[in-house]
Amino acid sequence: MVAQNIFFYAIAATMVGAGLVVVTSRNIVRAALGLIVVFGGVAAQFVILAAEFVAVTQVLIYVGAIMVLILFGIMLTRAKIGQDPEMSHERWWVGAIPALLLVGVMGYALIDYFGDDPLPGDRRVEAVNGSNTATVSDSMFAQYLVPFELISVLLLAALIGAIVIARKDR
């Protein structure tokens, strides 16, 4: 199991580093790339946690869809490619304080409660027809049917609304 730990810490470190790049870099494109790294890392963590289906979805949607959107955004707003000191406020600590407070509280609470509970060795949920993907789908169409249907309306609404708002008309 050590390997998993090594994997975990390596990836985690990368993610945190990349995350910091996202929120500190003066180059917007570099920030975007950092974000991609984070997404990838998250997907990898999912794999470690044996949630392949979610991992795949993560990659597809985030890296495939969301990042593209964001890059579009970068293009359409003609952001400077390259260094731009105007990316962050000079009063950065205004953001640091709440962030640290939150992390502090969260960390305290988590460590206090979960201490060092191990994750179960076999983290696979019991498989239907040999794949936990099927399990996901089953529960999604049984218990989570309503939200699932709603998501469709939600996406439709977001799509149409976004278009109406964003389009240059007449």
């Binding site: 406020h89 205004v94 953001g95 304080i97 709440p98 962030a99 407070l101 939150l102 509280v105 609470a109």
Partner: protein, 716 residues
């Protein structure tokens, strides 16, 4: 008639409303209504007196069946309850057995209706008819009638002629109601009503500020006294076990079922009321100012009737005072003291007046002092007798002065002089009344004043009230002096005014004569038994002094007539007159000079005379009698005592300003406004929370979430 005497006040009351409503439309502007009403009232009052005499002579025997039929009559007329003193005074039935043997008791006639019910208690309104009440009925209606007649001429052509008579009627009604009050509450009501009438009538010519000032002063000063009245009456109400009934209160006070302290408190508070209403020092200052009213008003209200309400009230609640101040056994008490001081003070101040009405006003003050003093020393009968006589001759004097002013259009004695030639009737009546006031034998004042002095010398505990006898005698001397001066300045010497004075018409002179005659004869109403057969002696005492257990009988004695005091008093009176007359006689000197040398022409003589008289007047009488003492007294009166009264007004106004501007507007109200401002400005500060920068909102959101979570984790 006795049971229905309660009608008497209602007649003038009715005429009051009638005059207000229709007066203006009547041919004589409503005066006829007033005169008629008071006339009827007077006749009825006479009838009442006559019947009362029978009642007294029948004594207690007939009262019982008498009462019975009254009860029937009362009930079949649906007039509510009718009771007779004996019953309402039942708790005190056992009281004063001694009294029973001495004199057979004369039960008062009582008649009452439920006025209102409060706290389950029925408060009664009704009639308490006994000696003093009957006597006052006579006095009030008579003087009022004469004043009415007098006024028809005196205020003729006044722009508020009708209102004048309306309020004269209202006053008469209230005064009659007062003297017949069955309950102290009713007494308070009428007490206030007469006050209002006096307010209105003093301010009759309210166009001039001076008059309305005088009216306000009178009313407010009386209100001050009324504090005492209210407190006293309330104390009695509870002390007597929640009753306003006068007879009951007196009875309980006398048979000792009310604590001495309660009585003392009540008596002292009530004395305050007496001081204001009856112009006793130091609340007397409104009375001279009240002379701003028309003279008939001064005669009726401020000499004959209203001002004696205080004396009457004391006499009414005599049980309370007698016990409360333990009059019978002491040799000095507050009541007598107040009276005594007033006797001297009033007389002293009378010297320095140039306004003839003011002189009379101060003389009234001092005479009222006599009455209060008399009550204070326990000479009830003397006091009421003096009240009786004083009403006539003082009214006569006032009306006389009015008649004079009618002729010379002024009240200032410096504008008069020598009027006896022009106004014989006024002159004669005025002199008679003066004699009565001074107390010359056999004029009315002699008898009444004499009784007071006698009382002072004989009544009370060991040592008697001798001090007050001396006071009385000194008062007599001063009275004699200033009255002589008045007569001299008014009717003798040369006329110093303008125009041609003339005698007033019959509607003025007839009342004067009637009063003058009474001023002579009234004194015989109580001629001492030493000087007359019992059938005529002490009739006043016999008929008018209450003889029932609501009136003090233990340690209550009647002074004997003493020749010494009588002579002494007369001598004193003559001495005072003599002094004044001496100056007057000395003034005749220059006539001789004119006979010897023809050089001195008439003009010169006049000059000299004038000079001489003025010298005489200014240097001797004014300089001597008026003198430093009196002047000082007057100064004190105007600046200290009067200053206190006015000062109180000014002070409270100033205090009011301060409280309003500094406390109310700034502290009390300010607090409110400030808190409002505070809320507003805090709003201004908190607006900064929404700075418009969405990321600061975000910071707040995340920060707040973290802080709340942390806080609750830590503290809960």
């Amino acid at each position: 008639m006795l049971e229905n005497a309660w009608i008497i006040p209602l007649i003038p009351a009715a005429s009051f409303f009638l005059i207000l409503l229709f007066g203006k439309r009547l041919p004589r502007k409503g005066s006829e209504l007033g005169v008629a009403a008071v006339g009827i009232a007077f006749v009825l009052a006479l009838a009442t007196n006559v019947q009362w005499f029978d009642h007294v002579d029948d004594g207690g025997h007939e009262t019982e069946p008498h009462a019975e039929e009254v009860v029937d009559g009362g009930e079949e007329h649906g007039l509510g309850t009718v009771s007779v003193g004996g019953e309402s005074a039942a708790p005190a039935a056992a009281a004063a057995p001694a009294a029973e043997e001495e004199v057979h008791s004369v039960e008062p006639i009582e008649k009452g209706w439920t006025w209102f019910q409060n706290g389950g208690v029925d408060i009664e309104v009704g009639m308490l008819l006994d000696g003093p009440a009957v006597m006052m009925l006579f006095v009030v209606t008579l003087v009022s009638l004469l004043v009415h007649v007098y006024s028809t001429d005196y205020v003729a052509g006044d722009r508020r002629y009708t209102h004048f008579f309306a309020f004269l009627s209202l006053f008469t009604a209230s005064m009659l109601g007062l003297v017949m009050s069955k309950t102290t509450l009713q007494l308070i009501v009428c007490w206030e009503l007469v006050g209002v009438c006096s307010f209105v009538l003093i301010g009759h010519w309210w166009e001039e500020k001076a008059n309305s000032d005088a009216a306000l002063k009178a009313f407010i000063t009386n209100r001050v006294g009324d504090i005492g009245l209210l407190v006293g009456m309330i104390t009695l109400y509870f002390a007597a076990g929640q009753t306003f009934d006068i007879v009951e209160i007196n009875t309980l006070a006398l048979n000792g079922s009310i604590s001495q302290t309660a009585l003392l408190v009540a008596a002292c508070s009530l004395i305050a009321a007496v001081m204001s209403k009856s112009g006793q020092f130091i609340l007397h200052t409104w009375l001279p100012d009240a002379m701003a009213g028309p003279t008939p008003v001064s005669a009726l209200i401020h000499a004959a009737t209203m001002v004696v309400a205080g004396i009457f009230m004391v006499g009414r609640l005599y049980g309370v005072f007698f016990e409360g101040l333990s009059i019978g056994i002491s040799s000095v008490n507050l009541l007598a003291l107040v009276g005594g001081v007033t006797v001297i003070g009033g007389a002293g101040l009378a010297f320095v007046q140039n306004d003839i009405k003011k002189v009379l006003a101060y003389s009234t003050v001092s005479q009222l002092g006599y009455m209060v003093m008399a009550l204070g020393i326990g000479a009830w009968t003397a006091a009421f007798f003096h009240l009786f006589t004083h009403a006539f001759f003082k009214a006569c004097l006032f009306l006389g002065s009015g008649s004079v002013s009618h002729a010379v259009h002024s009240f200032d004695m410096r504008d008069m002089g020598g009027l006896r030639k022009w106004m014989p009737h006024t002159y004669k009546t005025f002199v008679i009344a003066t004699a009565a006031l001074i107390g010359i034998f056999p004029f009315a004042g002699f008898w009444s004043k004499d009784e007071i002095l006698a009382g002072a010398s004989q009544l009370g505990g060991e040592g008697n009230y001798t001090a007050f006898m001396i006071v009385g005698i000194v008062g007599a001397l001063m009275t004699a002096a200033y009255m002589t001066r008045t007569i001299y300045l008014t009717f003798f010497g040369e006329f110093r005014g303008h125009g041609h004075p003339h005698e007033s018409g019959p509607r003025i002179t007839v009342p004067l004569w009637i009063l003058a005659v009474l001023g002579v004869t009234a004194g015989f109403a109580n001629i001492p038994s030493a000087l007359a057969p019992d059938s005529v002696a002490l009739r006043f005492e016999h008929f008018y002094e209450p003889r029932a257990d609501y009136f003090p009988v233990e340690n209550f004695t009647h002074p004997e007539f003493s020749l010494g005091i009588a002579l002494g008093a007369t001598a004193i009176g003559l001495l005072g007159i003599g002094a004044a007359y001496l100056w007057y006689w000395r003034g005749l000197g220059p006539h001789g000079v004119t006979e010897r040398s023809a050089v001195a022409g008439t003009g010169y003589r006049v000059l000299v005379n004038k000079y001489y008289f003025d010298h005489l007047y200014t240097d001797v009488i004014a300089g001597g009698v008026k003198g430093p003492i009196a002047r000082a007294a007057y100064w004190i009166n105007q600046n200290v005592i009067d200053g206190v009264v006015d000062g109180a007004g000014r002070l409270s106004t100033a205090l009011g300003r301060f409280v309003y501007t500094h406390v109310d507007q700034q502290v009390v109200d300010g607090a409110v406004n400030r808190s409002a401002t505070a809320a507003n400005s805090s709003g201004q500060v908190l607006r900064q929370l929404t700075s418009g920068k969405v990321q600061q909102y975000g910071a707040l959101l995340f920060g707040a979430a973290a802080v709340f979570a942390g806080a609750i984790i830590l503290f809960v």
